[in-house]
Amino acid sequence: MSPNLRIALRFLTARKRAMFMSLFGIMFGVGFFIVTQAQTSGFESFFIKTILGTNGALRIEDRMQATMFPMEADGAAGGSDFLIAGEGGRKIIPGIEDPFRISEAVRRFKNVSGVSIVLQGTVNLSTNVSGDSVRVQGVNIDDHLAVSDLASQIVQGDLADYRLTPAGALVGSVLASRQNLHPGDTFTLEWNGEARRYRVSAVYETGVSDIDRVRVYIHLAEARSLLQKPTGATFIQVNLFDHERAPEDAVRIQEVIGHTVAPWQRREKTWLDVFRALRFSSALTVSTIILISGLAMFNTLAMVVMEKTKDIAILRSMGYTRRDIARVFIWQGAIVLAAGAILGCVFGAVATYGVSKLPIRIRGIFSTDSFVVAWSPWHYVAAVTIAAVVVMAASLIPARRAARLEPGDVIRGTAL
């Protein structure tokens, strides 16, 4: 053990109570930072999982038709090899005319894990309870299961029944509740004056109330018949192996297929920004605890420096350098920081686990019955880094002051 560390350890005992207060402050600051980050990140991650599980990572929609034509430039002697891009624009043609060809092209991208063609239309739903305007989505169920978490979102009934029933339908939980629909019940979908009867095969719940209230899944063939669209699709839902790469993949796919491709990050930008702001603001708020602990540390060390001026002078007279003296005080800060950070990480982990068991019912943007937390080592790294910066900055000033003390002045009694 270095002499400076040895001295620092003993000096720590000089103001045990104040040091413990600083230590507990750091512990609680680090711990609360971890808990709040685990919660906000947890809810954010859960939200992302929900939107990926319902609307997929990418959505391919309208076709973009360029209205910009290259023109051959006229040289002085006539024709030229140069092409001039004429200023034009872009025309959007709604929907996808040849979804199978587009699907095949999209499947060739390495990061694509699933593709589902969706035909969507707004129709009237009637039951013996009342009527509702709903959004029907015609899908090939096996394709759609590859781009969504629909299988795990079934809360009543089962998918096997849906597969075996051409007129089967999957109804959102909110809609089912409003219309008092249960598996086996029938309802009517009406579009353009033509009504067809369907049977509820299963009820699903995504947790996103906007979906659960209006979306009804039926077989793609049934949707084509109901919506009188024998070809084409409204959009194609795509899932990716690496969801984080969605924006880059969207750009590349869009260039290849000439259709607009919306990555989930762009589609859900508003909510993602809200979560990011929440995470940042909670980090700022909780960091004030660490900041206050740093101030307490500064105060305690400044007091120790004042109390230990004679000890500093005698150490200097023995040959301890200014740097040694500074290190004695920096060590004290580092020891309290290390103990506070370790205890804070343990406290943070235990509190995060405890919070994850707290019951809370949330429906609207996702569905959960308890607090959602995310376990990430980066929360611990960030908390400890903030504590380290604050505490070491707080230790540095008293340490420098101690190092600047002139032993002659101290012994003569004219220091400070």
Binding site: I7, D311, I314, M318, G319, Y320, G408
Partner: protein, 227 residues
């Protein structure tokens, strides 16, 4: 400078203290030589500059003018790092108020300069510290904290600590000023004996005429100069 010459020497030392109207010319061109194995007593009225001179000689303070040599090496105008290293290597201090590190035991206090010097291993340091504490009559109190020792005992630990790195010079600022008569005699005898045995120079500042009388050399100081 050879080993036979003065181990510590200063010439033309000037030192001012305070600022503005309160500025005082404390040392007015003091010159001094300390010989090995010799006890030098600096005496004089309060405020005459005795302690200021001692701090200058101990490199705890910088002179406004003049030179200090230790073992022939000019040290007065060198960097803080060199002066600090010279303190650790050549000088041992005993102060009036002991200045033990009270959170440490007597043994740890004596080992403190050795730890910085780094010449001995842990066991070697402990052995030497015990021997020094034995020599000052505290062999049975090595593990007592500073707070558990009497004033006389603390001062004896301070003497042992000053001797830890076998310094060439021991500087003592009224080492018996805070002790009763028997403890004063004991501390002085200790310093004088060890200085003579080890060939160390002892420079002490004292108000005690008995201590001055028993020193090898007495230097009287008045108004910042030796008289």
């Amino acid at each position: 400078m050879t080993a036979a010459g003065p181990v510590l020497r200063c010439a033309g030392l000037h030192r001012y203290l305070g600022h503005g109207a309160g500025r005082v010319h404390v040392l007015r061109g003091v010159s001094f030589e300390a010989e090995r194995g010799c006890v030098h007593a600096i005496v004089g009225p309060s405020g005459c500059g005795k302690s200021t001179l001692l701090y200058q000689l101990g490199l705890l303070d910088r002179p406004d003018d003049g030179q200090i040599w230790i073992n022939g090496e000019t040290i007065s105008n060198s960097s803080d790092a060199l002066r600090t290293a010279a303190r650790g290597r050549h000088l041992g201090f005993v102060f009036q108020f002991h200045f033990l590190l009270l959170e440490f035991t007597a043994l740890e206090n004596v080992m403190m300069p050795m730890r910085k010097f780094g010449r001995l291993d842990e066991a070697g340091m402990a052995t030497r510290a015990r021997r020094l504490l034995d020599e000052v009559g505290l062999g049975d109190k090595t593990h007592r904290l500073g707070t558990e020792l009497s004033g006389g005992e603390q001062q004896r630990v301070a003497v042992a600590r000053a001797l830890a790195n076998e310094p060439a010079v021991i500087l003592a600022d009224e080492p018996t000023g805070n002790l009763d008569q028997s403890n004063s005699a004991m501390v002085f005898d200790l310093l004088a004996r060890l200085a003579r045995e080890n060939g160390q120079a002892v420079v002490l500042v004292t108000h005690n005429p008995e201590i001055a009388r028993r020193s090898d050399r007495v230097l009287a100081m008045r108004d910042g100069v030796f008289v």
